[in-house]
Point group: C2
Chain length 316, copies 2
């Protein structure tokens, strides 16, 4: 099976699992965020983990759905915290409804994530529930770090990388690992999947930072420079601060229409474009090494290469 | 064992279970809300349910703690939604820190509630997890109904009672039921405990509404009339609207210093004080009948009478 087929398997399941309940506002808002799309990479990773270990991907659908629901819970709450107006081209939940509804909508999504996990009936159930919970805690911690970094001078690269690992990569790790566990693999083997997907996630997040600054509009499907306009502390900003103590001052002093262009130019002259690509490549290589180790354990690995290419394939 | 002893058993456990982690802000805020006190009636109900069925209350501590953590999660998020400044005489979490931290603090508490439940190792674990999740969903629904009722004209008594059942009573039901289940009783017997604690909860909530309007300050430990000042739709307001179509108009038109006194006088003249006491008594009688049924099944029941008296004992 290919990534496309597994994603489609999940999409069919998703269609059959509309949330139903009252007050309708609460359930409408939950169905709304789930319907906004996205790559559905997390549920696909669960099914891929299962498939590679010769499982029956259908049996892992409750886990795949739980992780996608959890991801959407985090989007709804993060959007409130970040005062974001738009999510995937549509109004965020707290904008379309209101903030109290968005808080409850997220809370209920988190509970439903557990409900689906509890309905899973297959190998390693307790371990999966425990890994999921530990991952969920890390994601809350990552989001809190992210918010605190906005007011922290000179965040170190190490702390920044740990933050994106917690905020983004661990859920990919959890997805692939739990997928493998649902096919009955050992805890030890599953750990390799966790580490592997974290490397994929780190590479993806760094490429995301790169593309937002230097990507061609037609390739990334949105105007570049969004992170600069928002004043977001990406890897580029953190590294820029490390290399040039005046970064904060010139980053905030250019306010003209050409702000994005000027800052990008500055970063290009510092070689940050090459450095971030190198850093992303570092994680890609780590992932590739782990894919080989996985192969050596006797599992199939083609789909992992496909996932890695898919997530790094947006290179400008 | 008496209620006091069981509460003390929980308090000792609570003291040993401080949340530890980083960022410290996140964990400080979680420990803060847990430390603000309260009656700890929910964990006591879990231990009481276990004790009555001849269990070993110590084994139910993870469940007791999970339910108390869940309760505190709901307080943190409800306080944001209600823009409440004070909780148990102290600043609310979103006031003491900020709203994003309060959202994440609640999220992490909810995850930790599940972590403790998952650590429970005793009879009926799957059933307990399932009852807990269903209860958690109901509580979200109840809070959403409560918020929507603020803008709904002529809420029916039936809908109001259902809302407080979801928002408040079901967690008491879940606590007592899961306590019983942790001592190994059957699903059927445990259901009686659920229904019984719901009656206790309904009675408690109605007495709370009564006391807020008509209670003597020295007995309830706060100024009466808080609900009137906040314009909260309590049972008294709902019933007043049902009996007098002009309620909304006169409720909102008295704005002088004597507003609370005038509205209370109005409600007294309508006999609402007697009616709400009667309604609370109705639930108390239902609870007492169920306590007898419980006794007839061969379980001890003294502590239930003690709990019922404790929760209704604040009568003015």
């Amino acid at each position: 099976m290919q990534l496309n087929a597994l994603t489609q398997l999940y999409l069919d399941f998703l269609k059959s699992e509309t949330f139903i309940g009252t007050p309708t506002t609460l359930y409408d808002s939950m169905n709304y965020i789930m319907s906004l799309g996205g790559k559905r990479i997390r549920p696909a990773l669960v099914l891929a983990g299962n498939h590679m270990a010769a499982g029956t991907p259908n049996s892992a659908l409750p886990i795949a759905h739980a992780i996608e629901i959890f991801h959407n819970f985090s989007l709804v709450h993060d959007d409130i915290m970040d005062a974001a107006l738009v999510r995937r081209g549509n109004p965020t939940v707290h904008v379309k409804w209101n903030e109290p509804t968005a808080i409850l909508s997220g809370d209920n999504l988190l509970i439903f994530a557990y409900k689906y996990l509890l309905n899973y009936d297959g190998p390693n159930k307790d371990l999966i529930l425990s890994i999921f919970s530990d991952t969920a805690v890390k994601i809350c911690e990552g989001q809190q770090w992210d918010m605190e970094f906005a007011y922290t001078p000179a965040v170190s690269e190490e702390n920044y990388l740990l933050m994106i690992q917690y905020k983004t990569a661990v859920l990919l790790g959890c997805a692939l690992q739990c997928g493998g566990l649902s096919a009955g693999i050992s805890k030890e083997h599953s750990h390799l999947l966790y580490e592997l997907a974290i490397d994929i996630g780190m590479q993806f997040q760094l490429m995301d930072d790169y593309l937002d600054a230097f990507g061609e509009e037609f390739l990334i499907g949105k105007k570049s420079g969004g992170d600069i306009i928002e004043g977001k502390k990406t890897w580029l900003y953190i590294k820029s601060e490390e290399l040039d103590k005046n970064t904060e001052s010139w980053f905030n002093s250019y306010l003209g229409d050409d702000r994005v262009t000027v800052i990008k130019q500055h970063w290009l002259s510092m070689g940050l474009d090459k450095m971030i690509l190198q850093k992303a490549e570092h994680y890609k290589l780590r992932a590739e090494n782990k894919i080989m180790s996985w192969e050596q354990l006797g599992y199939s690995s083609e789909i992992l290469t496909e996932i890695l290419d898919f997530l790094s394939g947006r290179k400008a």
